[in-house]
Symmetry: C2
């Protein structure tokens, strides 16, 4: 494999010098892009997009054709693993992801198995390989997965939830049953991310979307140790190149020290957290990714530039910052405003390097 | 007025010695109680309950008849003020609160007025007075309001929101327009809480339910200064008795130092925050209220007792703790488990005093 032409993301994740702050955007291939909606219409559904490597490659590349992004992220879903376990992932309009067969009985939980990525998640690995070829080493490709706890929430609830009543009932009443699910998920995520790395992913990210609904004590028992096990089990290089990892717990701003201590390369920050304070707390150990409020993209290029500058200035001078939003880009965002963000990062950040 | 028989709540909010940790529960009069559902059926709707002082008194007292709670809280809604402003509060099944006439145009915003509590919110003041009489000084009565920013969210969105797109668009695009709404709301909330105090409320609480959706910078501009203005404008005593106040920003665990600095008597904590850490951070300045995960009440009396003990032990020995959940009690909670919680606090907490 030849060298990456733009390796700013990889270098920033390793806290090495870069001439500017690299930027990518969570959900950068998504419904705010008309061309994405066209491809999705051709594919028939979100899941059909994910499961067809040609379509997945096409939409992964769409934002890169528009914006000077410093990374691609494989187009997929955080819930591919439970789908591969047979739970039957589906999406109904306006409802978010759901499972046809959520975990309702303990015998179902005892029968859970670790899917073989090469078999049950082949379509993701094929997409990773195909996207890598299409990227032609212009920018790195990020692979990802949901965290064990986040997967468990969806597996137990059967979908998103306001209060995670079933998951938390299990957590407090039958903690060993939840730990069993989390153990299976941990082995599955580790194998899956390593398979993505072998297929060509040059960095990987763990999305702990729901860890922030826990108390600190419960987070340290039911989410964090499993993130730590995954990080410990991840390949750290492939083909002679370092493969850094990013751990993101939405709502985890109070636990940054704990997250930074699990051995990950970078910590993702939601927009509630001040990135300057986060740097003072953990910036000597990990890189930081984030963290503009996605709602800033509902404003104007001028305001976006000013708010982007605030985040850059809050991080301050030096290495180890990957610019991103604090959460996925909204479907109601205008692509022009995303361009304004990417351009602002590239225009303003060299001052800090 | 004669003396309170049980003044543990008031004393704890003032960080004075108490023989045990007082406990009350957010939304303690609510759908988890069969007798509440019966009264609500008789009243016809949630709003009819709120607006009729007889019904409001009846449901306010219901949890006190069942549990040895150390406070009552007036049965009302956090959105009475925008309703009094003419926005037309209503509730549709499963949807949460909504407004018939949300703020869509700037002329509507310019025409906003500060409602006179004695006129437009008479029903709340009548309920407060009637509940005080019915309580016969057994336990104190807490009054409350939504925070200016939280009210503004509902007023602009027209209801709850996943992303607060309209409010945040205004915040970033037209900050002065949002500041105008917040100024009106601040004056309205201050007058309303002071009227509740004059009608007999013996403590007051500000619910900043949505402050936690902001970035720290935005929180310090659009929520916190208005909370501070209200606290500065609140009556601190009535009838020769101190009237302490509590400020609760859900999701505000990263900003506790800022909240404690606005001059409030107590800070409410959601369940994400470790109450022991919170005490180390701000416990020398304010009392702390909270913060058991409401989902613990989906477990068993034995587990509830153990988890309650964890919160008491995390706060530790000494004064200034009011036990509560970290959020309102769920409608799916069994009353027996609420009894287990209240009894556990009373049984276990004397050790810490």
């Amino acid at each position: 494999m030849s060298k990456l032409k733009n390796d700013t993301l990889i270098r920033a994740l390793k806290r090495e010098p870069t001439p500017y702050t690299p930027v990518w955007i969570m959900r950068q291939a998504g419904r705010y892009l008309p061309e994405y909606n066209q491809t999705r219409a051709r594919a028939g559904s979100f899941l059909a997009l994910c499961k067809n490597p040609d379509f997945a490659t096409e939409v992964t590349l769409q934002p890169l054709a528009r914006f000077a992004l410093d990374a691609a992220i494989v187009f997929s879903d955080i819930l591919t693993i439970p789908d591969a376990m047979g739970l039957g992932l589906y999406f109904s309009e306006g409802e978010g992801p759901q499972f046809e067969r959520p975990l309702r009985d303990e015998w179902e939980i005892r029968n859970l198995f670790v899917p073989d990525p090469g078999e049950h998640l082949r379509y993701v690995l094929d997409a990773v390989a195909q996207i890598r070829r299409a990227l032609a080493n212009e920018v790195p490709l990020i692979g990802f997965s949901g965290s064990p706890f986040t997967l468990a929430c969806y597996m137990v609830e059967g979908g998103a939830s306001a209060d995670f009543r079933m998951t938390k009932s299990m957590l407090y009443n039958r903690p060993q049953v939840l730990h069993h699910i989390l153990d299976i998920n941990t082995r599955a995520v580790t194998a899956y991310l390593n398979a993505q790395i072998e297929a060509g992913a040059q960095a990987v990210m763990l999305f702990d979307t729901w860890g922030g609904v826990l108390s600190g004590t419960a987070y340290r028992e039911f989410s964090l140790p499993y993130l730590q096990r995954i990080v410990a089990g991840l390949k750290r290089e492939h083909g002679g190149e370092a493969v850094p990892n990013i751990v993101f717990t939405k709502g985890g701003g109070q636990w940054l020290e704990d997250i930074a201590a699990i051995g990950c390369d970078a910590v993702g920050l939601d927009w509630n957290t001040d990135i300057g304070e986060a740097r003072r707390r953990i910036g000597n150990r990990v890189a930081l990714q984030g963290n503009l409020d996605p709602a800033v993209l509902f404003s104007s290029p001028e305001i976006i530039k000013r708010q982007t500058h605030q985040v850059l200035a809050a991080f301050g001078h030096g290495n180890g910052h990957v610019f991103n939003l604090g959460h996925g880009v909204s479907q109601f965002t205008s692509p022009e405003n995303v361009a304004a963000l990417v351009n602002a990062v590239h225009e303003l950040s060299p001052h800090y390097h």
